[in-house]
């Protein structure tokens, strides 16, 4: 119960820090001093105090979407293993519900972008929808393979591979981590798929979809985007750390450290490489599918190899 409460608090408030750490890292590599890591939180608070401007083309869908996006992201977060490797809602086949709840939010994000009648936002929406079609099947293959390896139908199967699959488990874990990093960069719209710092270039995806949102609506959407980041980082953390074996304190420590390290990694990555050209982004995301297929074949070899 207490673990769940702590997990919930982390889920709600870690996003600001994670984004802050990424920004700090980028500033560090650029030789700048950078803003405080608390800045995203202050930005959020400021947004929540603001009034908003709404396009007169839009309808109630546009006002409803931020609420749905936030609610779905948070509820999806309840299915993700965090400290102790335990999700708040631990359910067999939980990853399916997790993915589909996020899909519900995405549906609203897409139609809300289209609601403005802006060609920019249409562009963002069509790309976002397109990328999802590549990411999701690969994610399902990975999760199903891990479930087949560990025999555990819940999300906890992530942290059991090292324990259950031996040497092959290390290889599979590495591949899964790589695939999930690609997924994180795509879903959270980071370089090289998307650049969160600029709005108005024709290659933008997520930022351009929320071009017309302002005030509290924008605040909720950025919060939700941060939570999504924490969710995907938690999945990677769960892969790397056998959380359920090492006890509460160690797993809490490892988990927080993992969040921090992954954020630093993302920041470093963004400082090192440039955004890919749109036509190459597809190829980048397809890497995730190939990782997924390799994981599937390794799983088959591991189970039926002898």
């Amino acid at each position: 119960m207490i673990t769940n409460l702590i997990n919930l608090i982390i889920l709600l408030f870690a996003p600001f820090l994670v984004i802050g750490v990424i920004k700090k890292t980028k500033a560090f590599w650029a030789g700048r001093k950078g803003v405080s890591i608390w800045q995203p939180l202050w930005d959020f608070v400021r947004l929540m105090k603001k009034d908003c401007v709404i396009s007169n083309t839009t309808t109630w869908i546009f006002r409803l979407a931020p609420l749905v996006i936030f609610a779905t992201t948070l509820v999806a977060g309840l299915f993700v293993p965090m400290i102790n490797g335990q999700p708040v809602i631990n359910m067999e086949g939980g990853f399916i519900l997790f993915a589909y709840i996020l899909g519900f939010g995405k549906f609203f994000a897409l139609i809300s972008a289209m609601d403005t009648g802006s060609s920019f936002e249409g562009m963002g929406a069509s790309r976002e929808a397109c990328f999802t079609t590549i990411v999701e099947p690969a994610f399902f293959i990975i999760m199903a393979s891990l479930i087949a390896l560990t025999g555990n139908y819940t999300f906890q199967s992530l942290s059991m591979i090292l324990e259950k699959a031996g040497v092959m488990g290390i290889l599979i874990t590495l591949l899964a981590v790589l695939a999930l990093v690609v997924m994180l960069l795509t879903e959270c719209c980071r370089v090289p798929v998307d650049d969160p710092t600029t709005h108005l270039e024709l290659t933008m995806i997520h930022e351009v979809m929320i071009l017309d949102n302002s005030g509290q609506d924008l605040g909720l959407i950025t919060w939700a985007a941060g939570i999504k980041m924490v969710i995907l980082e938690s999945l990677i953390a769960a892969l790397l750390i056998p959380m359920h074996l090492i006890g509460f304190w160690y797993s809490a420590l490892c988990y927080v450290a993992a969040l921090f390290v992954i954020a630093v990694f993302v920041g470093t990555l963004e400082s090192c490489i440039a955004r890919l050209r749109m036509s190459h982004v597809f190829e980048f995301i397809f890497a995730m599918s190939s990782f997924a297929l390799i994981i599937l074949s390794l799983t088959a070899i591991r189970i039926y190899g002898n």
Partner: protein, 657 residues
């Protein structure tokens, strides 16, 4: 059982009665009788579900050389009659509003009413009759009456063409069904379905052959790829309530046929189960892929029906594999998902077709590229269509998710049954289903946002002033409520579904699955409550919201032409898959110094139609031109044929006699 006889006959009586009423009242009469039939069907179904025993009745009529006509309402049939009757009734109610403009134009609806009621009765008959001959007769009545419904606007050439295409497909389908049944009756010597059970369980190869024939025959009706081509033609041609009933209910009788044959086979072989699963995954992917390419509202929905038939087939395939590998949990989940998705699809597909019909009713166009901004003028239709769109994408908290979840979970269990082929195939189909899900999101966000959101793209959409009449809204509300109820309380619906499933798997233990569904129910409820709470909180915060035009990067004279279109929305995705389409360009480039008219039109053709069906038909035509020489319309020549025949006959007489 008497109740069911009445249920079966009331629609037809209604159709006959409607002939004696004035044009305006005809559809009301049909709806009234459909309502009575619905109540009676539901009573029968409740009776069967509650007692757990099937009703069998053999009325002593037509008791000739083909054996007696035999009605059996087992749980599977009870499931089918309950949703067939409900969906048909809603279709009839919707027709009241939808047909008004046609009646005002002076079109005659009496034959339409008659065929509509015949379709309802024959569908109820198809899923309950268990005698080969009478089954085929009812099946044929169903096909023919729906054919006449499709060609309601028979003054339009494309409608007639679509109707004839449908008719041809249905008769190719019936050939295969007859073949399957002829094989069965020859072996068993009886026309009764029950007598087939024994011979099918004895000889696996024979069972496979029969199943394949039945799968092709019923699969044409259901719309499995590669037999799907009639769907995208017939659905746009038919009036919307007819397409709704056809897509929501009638194509499911094809699935019923396959399930019925399967229930007689008892344990299918692994090979044929793999076949069903693979062809279903292909069907689902093919359907949704072409749905994304469509601009015609109803063609898009027709392709989406193909997709959903694929999902239903995936469930069936998973269930069959569970049976073949003696893994009951997999079989229960597979068949459970399959049967629940039959119900779910009929609910949200009817809802979507009704919404499409309402849009057509007000804008007189089915091309979504010229629509837009309809949410403001048609708020109720827009809200209901949104619910339908979310449900059809299989997203929680609506009903589509529940059946897909069951199938997914069945696949996960199937992957762990301890068989390499199962592991790989199940996980790949799982990915296939996930891909179908995300593509559905792309497809239906496109449909919804281009039709209802943004600014009106043409006069068609601009001139709409009011929403459709309440007789068209009411059925949609019923359907929307059903999608939500099944989505929020899946555990109860699953209990219901287990009854028909037990026909395939034997007694079922469900607590584990019901537990999962309870978690889903809890989550769905929590999600909705959370969104509501957030909305209330934002209301309480009471921030001002100023109104301004859409941000156009400093350029504030954006108009409806700069909006994204359906084609451009789908283009990044479709550009990845260009080899899978046949693109037909119609380009007129601007020329000269002051170019006047120029246009660009891209038409995407169905690959199967372009590369297989059309060349095939051409070859057939070529073959038959040979006979043109013989039958050329020249009377003298025909007389010559007669003369030659007579001479030959004489010669034969002389020499042989």
């Amino acid at each position: 059982m008497e109740i069911f006889y009445y249920a079966l006959l009331t629609p037809i009586i209604g159709g006959a009665m409607s002939l004696f009423f004035s044009e305006k009242r005809k559809l009301k009469v049909v709806s009234f009788f459909a309502f009575i039939s619905m109540i009676l069907c539901l009573m029968t179904a409740v009776n069967v579900f509650a007692s757990g025993e099937s009703l069998v009745a053999v009325p002593n009529i037509f008791n000739g050389m083909f054996g007696a006509i035999k009605f059996v309402v087992d749980p599977l049939s009870a499931f089918f009659i309950s949703f067939i009757s409900v969906m048909s009734f809603l279709g009839c109610v919707y027709a009241n509003g939808y047909m008004k403009p046609y009646m005002e134009k002076g079109m005659n609806v009496s034959s339409h009413c008659l065929f509509l009621s015949m379709l309802i009765s024959s569908m109820l008959g198809v899923v309950t009759i268990q005698n080969v001959m009478f089954f085929l007769i009812t099946w044929e009545i169903m096909s023919l009456s729906s054919f006449f419904l499709v060609i309601f606007e028979d003054n339009k050439k494309e409608v007639l063409n679509a109707g004839i295409k449908y008719l041809i497909y249905m008769h190719v389908s019936v050939i295969f069904i007859i073949l399957a049944f002829v094989l069965l009756t020859l072996k068993s010597g009886s026309y009764d379905f029950n007598s087939f059970k024994e011979i099918l369980s004895q000889n696996a190869q024979f069972a496979n052959l029969v199943f394949m024939l039945a799968f092709v025959g019923f699969g044409i009706k259901a719309g499995f790829v590669p037999f799907h081509n009639w769907l995208p033609e017939a659905h746009p041609a038919a009036p919307s309530h007819v397409s709704a009933v056809m897509s929501g209910v009638m194509i499911k009788t094809g699935i019923y046929g396959i399930l019925r044959i399967l229930s007689l086979i008892v344990i299918p072989t692994a090979g044929i189960s793999y076949f069903v699963l693979i062809i279903s995954v292909i069907t689902a992917l093919y359907g949704i892929l072409y749905a994304i390419t469509q601009r015609d509202l109803k063609r898009l929905l027709a392709y989406s029906s193909i997709e959903n038939i694929g999902i239903i087939g995936i469930g069936m395939g998973v269930g069959m594999l569970g049976l073949a590998h003696h893994s009951m949990p997999v079989a229960v989940l597979g068949f459970g998902g399959c049967i629940l998705h039959i119900l779910n699809h009929s609910i949200f597909k009817e809802l979507m077709f009704f919404a499409a019909g309402s849009v057509y009713n007000k804008t007189h166009t089915r091309n979504i590229e010229v629509l837009g901004g309809l949410l403001k003028s048609m708020p109720k239709t827009a809200l209901l269509c949104l619910i339908g769109s979310i449900a059809i994408c299989g997203l929680p908290p609506f009903n589509g998710f529940i059946s897909e979840f069951l199938i997914y979970f069945g696949m996960l269990k199937g992957a762990l049954t301890g068989n390499l082929g199962m592991l790989v195939l199940m996980i790949l189909s799982l990915a296939g289903l996930a891909l179908v899900g995300t593509m559905a999101i792309l497809c239906f966000t496109k449909l919804y946002s281009i039709t209802f959101l943004g600014m009106a793209r043409s006069e068609h959409a601009e001139h709409v002033k009011e929403d459709v009449v309440s007789s068209m809204i009411f059925p949609m509300i019923c359907l929307a409520v059903m999608t939500l109820l099944i989505g929020i309380f899946p555990q109860f619906v699953f209990e219901l579904v287990t009854k028909p499933v037990s026909l395939f798997t034997g007694a079922i233990e469900t607590p584990a699955i019901v537990g999962l569904l309870q978690t889903i129910s809890f989550t769905a409820f929590g999600l909705l409550a959370f969104i509501l709470a957030l909305a209330i909180l934002r209301k309480l915060a009471n921030k001002k919201a100023a109104s301004h035009c859409t941000w156009g990067c400093g350029y504030d004279k954006g108009n409806n032409h700069i909006q994204y279109t359906a084609s451009s929305y789908a283009s990044p995705f479709l550009s990845m898959l260009t080899p899978l389409f046949k693109k037909v360009f119609d380009i007129k480039k601007p020329k000269e110094l002051f170019p006047k008219d120029a246009h660009f039109c891209l038409h995407i053709e169905d690959v199967e139609e372009a590369y297989i069906i059309k060349p095939f038909i051409k070859d057939i035509e070529k073959f038959f031109t040979v006979f043109e020489r013989i039958q050329n319309g020249n009377i003298q020549q025909y007389i010559l044929y007669g003369l030659i025949f007579l001479i030959l006959a004489l010669i034969a007489l002389v020499f042989l006699g």
